[in-house]
């Protein structure tokens, strides 16, 4: 790991204890984010990408969820054992987060102004007047005109795209070192998605902020990521630089995912499709979790879980195909 690592997640496991059994939503996940870097966690629904983000923010609802193992180091501070007070000082201040549904993520009975100024009072201890000025500046920063009018309006008066900009303004209010964005454009139309992605890229450049982006959309990943973490069934199955992942994917799942997505101006007679379904996260067997759906499966894949291994500089994959012969047999 480089010296300027700001977030280091080590062997994180988050489980949900439900009436049907223990759901291993995040299962031994490790990765890191360094200063100014954009890391994307990509995967399909239920792969644990959002739970990973929520675990970093320590926003997992307990019960039923619980971080059962691992370490989350933010600037060498251990977030898992941090006190509630310390956590509160970090959230919204050094680490901030935006969510998938801008429509429901803002409080319907408070004005936009009230909601933007809250972290300013809480973390930056501004006076009322200063906070208002700052809020107006933030609204303008995220590309909304009529800032004074917006300051006094309620969430239902704005569109989804505008609300997501407001969420970004709130997230930026205390100059965070790390911005976690959980599917920030999934609920938005394509043309609005393009606006939000441009905005995020711009802001990130300007502030040398790190970003952890959670998404299911490979297109978005290719556009913004420096480094990509691919998750499947609660595990990291491959991680590497954006070029490694898109140009030289190693894991059969990553390869399949890239091939099954229809791409503009690349017509195929038939889409490649990965057969089968995502496994149930309750009774996972000690095998590669992709075993049932894999074209290249071997006998060892059904019997033991592959460890992550370095196949290239900074490119790791958890797949038996890349293990040396002698280990496999």
């Amino acid at each position: 790991m480089s010296d300027n690592t700001i977030l280091d997640v080590k062997k994180l496991s988050t489980h949900f204890f439900t009436e049907n059994g223990v759901v291993k939503a995040v299962n031994d996940v490790s990765f890191s984010v360094s200063e100014g870097q954009t890391v994307c966690i990509v995967g399909e629904s239920g792969c644990g990408k959002s739970v990973t983000a929520m675990s970093i923010m320590r926003l997992i609802e307990d019960p039923p969820g619980k971080i059962v193992d691992g370490e989350i180091l933010f600037q060498d501070k251990d977030l898992i054992h941090a006190s509630k007070k310390d956590l509160r000082r970090l959230r919204g201040n050094d680490i901030s987060m935006i969510f998938q549904e801008p429509m429901s993520s803002l409080n319907p009975v408070l004005t936009i102004g009230e909601q933007i100024t809250e972290p300013l009072f809480e973390h930056r201890l501004l006076t009322k007047k200063q906070a208002k000025q700052e809020a107006i500046k933030l609204i303008e920063l995220v590309g909304i005109g009529r800032s004074n009018e917006i300051f006094h309006s309620y969430p239902h008066q704005l569109s989804g795209g505008m609300l997501q900009r407001i969420m970004i303004a709130i997230a930026l209010s205390c100059d965070p070192l790390l911005l976690i964005a959980d599917e920030p454009t999934t609920a938005l139309d394509v043309t609005i998605q393009a606006q939000i992605l441009e905005l995020l890229k711009e802001i990130k450049e300007e502030r040398n902020m790190s970003m952890l982006l959670i998404t299911h959309d490979l297109g978005v990943v290719a556009e913004v990521a420096d480094y990509v973490v691919v998750m499947y069934a609660g595990k990291v199955i491959e991680q590497g630089s954006v070029l490694d992942i898109f140009k030289d994917p190693k894991h059969p799942y990553t390869q399949g995912l890239l091939q099954s997505k229809p791409v503009l101006n690349q017509r195929k007679k038939r889409l490649y499709s990965i057969p089968g379904q995502v496994p149930n996260l309750i009774d996972l067997k000690p095998s590669c979790y992709f075993y049932d759906r894999c074209e290249h499966r071997m006998s060892i894949c059904g019997g033991s879980i592959p460890e992550k291994m370095e196949v290239d500089d900074n490119h790791q994959v958890a797949c038996w195909l890349y293990e040396k012969e002698e280990v496999r047999t």
Binding site: F16, T18, E19, N20, G21, V23, A25, S45, G46, G48, K49, S50, V51, M54, E61, P64, G65, Q100, Q277, V278, P279, N280, L281, I282, D283
Partner: protein, 305 residues
């Protein structure tokens, strides 16, 4: 969290049983609900079978042993006519439980019928039914019950048949709320895509109604029905206490408490009126616990605990 719900969806495919079995399994796990159910069974057995084992059944008047405090022979003492209070409590329970169940069945029937008609056919039918419900709901339940009770008192109904009249009254007051509930449920079900699908498949109304809509309101009816038995028992007790419901010599828990109206009985003979009150309390709390447990079991998302 979006992800956890997705996971439960994935888990779903491993539960190889129908929805009712799941409901049952969840219900059995709920301790409060099971305690309620246990108590209810006990009360039922106590009231329905109990009198057969009592030596004082069928209103045995005993002029020598009047107003006796609890003793080995009369566990809960005797009343002014020398009747055994424990036996009377059982007999009264039969009446009160019958009224509660009967009123529930009737109001669920009327409420469901009218609610379904209003929600399914809409238009003028809906208007008439719902406006009627509105009117009924402008008058609070208790005064309305009192008026009806007064009207019916004048009909000189024999005392042993009064309970049926009380049932009818309770269901007249009770149906409107239920009809509203059923109607709104039907309206929301109609917006589900599977109801649009029945339209696009060109299915007949009968099939839409009986195969798709009604089975989906049954869970609601079970919960509301269960809870309304409790409500009906409470209302009956109020009416009977004020002499407007079930009247002596037929015993009901409500009119047994009427003994408290006499100052001497009230102060010195608590065994006459406290046991029926406790019986009502236990019955209703058990019903409510069971109903609440059913609600949680049927719709875990609505779970309030």
């Amino acid at each position: 969290m979006e992800e956890t719900t997705v996971q439960t969806e994935h888990m779903a495919k491993y539960r190889k049983s129908n929805l009712w079995k799941q409901v049952f399994r969840r219900l059995v796990k709920n301790k409060m609900a099971m305690t309620g159910l246990g108590f209810l069974i006990f009360i039922f057995v106590f009231c329905m079978i109990g009198p057969f084992f009592s030596p004082y059944a069928n209103g045995g008047v005993d002029a020598i042993n009047i107003n006796q405090p609890p003793s080995a022979e009369h566990w809960l003492g005797t009343d002014a006519l020398g009747r055994d209070v424990l036996t009377r409590l059982m007999e009264a329970g039969r009446i009160s439980l019958t009224v509660g169940l009967g009123a529930m069945v009737m109001s669920v029937f009327i409420g469901t019928l009218l609610g379904v008609l209003a929600g399914f056919y809409q238009g003028i039918v809906d208007q008439i039914i719902m406006r009627t419900a509105d009117v009924l709901m402008t008058i609070p339940g208790l005064p309305l019950l009192f008026i009806m009770a007064a009207v019916m008192s004048e009909w000189k109904v024999p005392a042993e048949n009064r309970l049926y009249i009380v049932m009818v009254m309770l269901s007249i007051v009770g149906w409107s709320g239920l009809a509203r509930l059923v109607r709104s449920q039907i309206l929301s079900l109609r917006e589900r895509e599977y109801m649009h699908a029945t339209e696009s498949l060109g299915l007949r109304d009968r099939r839409k109604l009986f195969v798709h809509l009604l089975p989906n309101i049954v869970p609601l009816l079970i919960v509301v029905g269960t809870l309304s038995v409790g409500g009906a028992i409470l209302s009956e007790s109020v009416l009977s206490y004020f002499g407007l419901g079930v009247v002596p010599p037929t015993a009901s828990w409500g009119n047994m408490i009427n003994a408290a109206n006499s100052l001497i009985d009230f102060q010195n003979r608590p065994w006459l009126w406290i046991p029926p009150g406790v019986a009502i309390f236990l019955t209703v709390i058990s019903i409510n616990l069971l109903g609440d447990g059913l609600r949680d079991a049927i719709d875990p998302k609505m779970k309030s605990r």
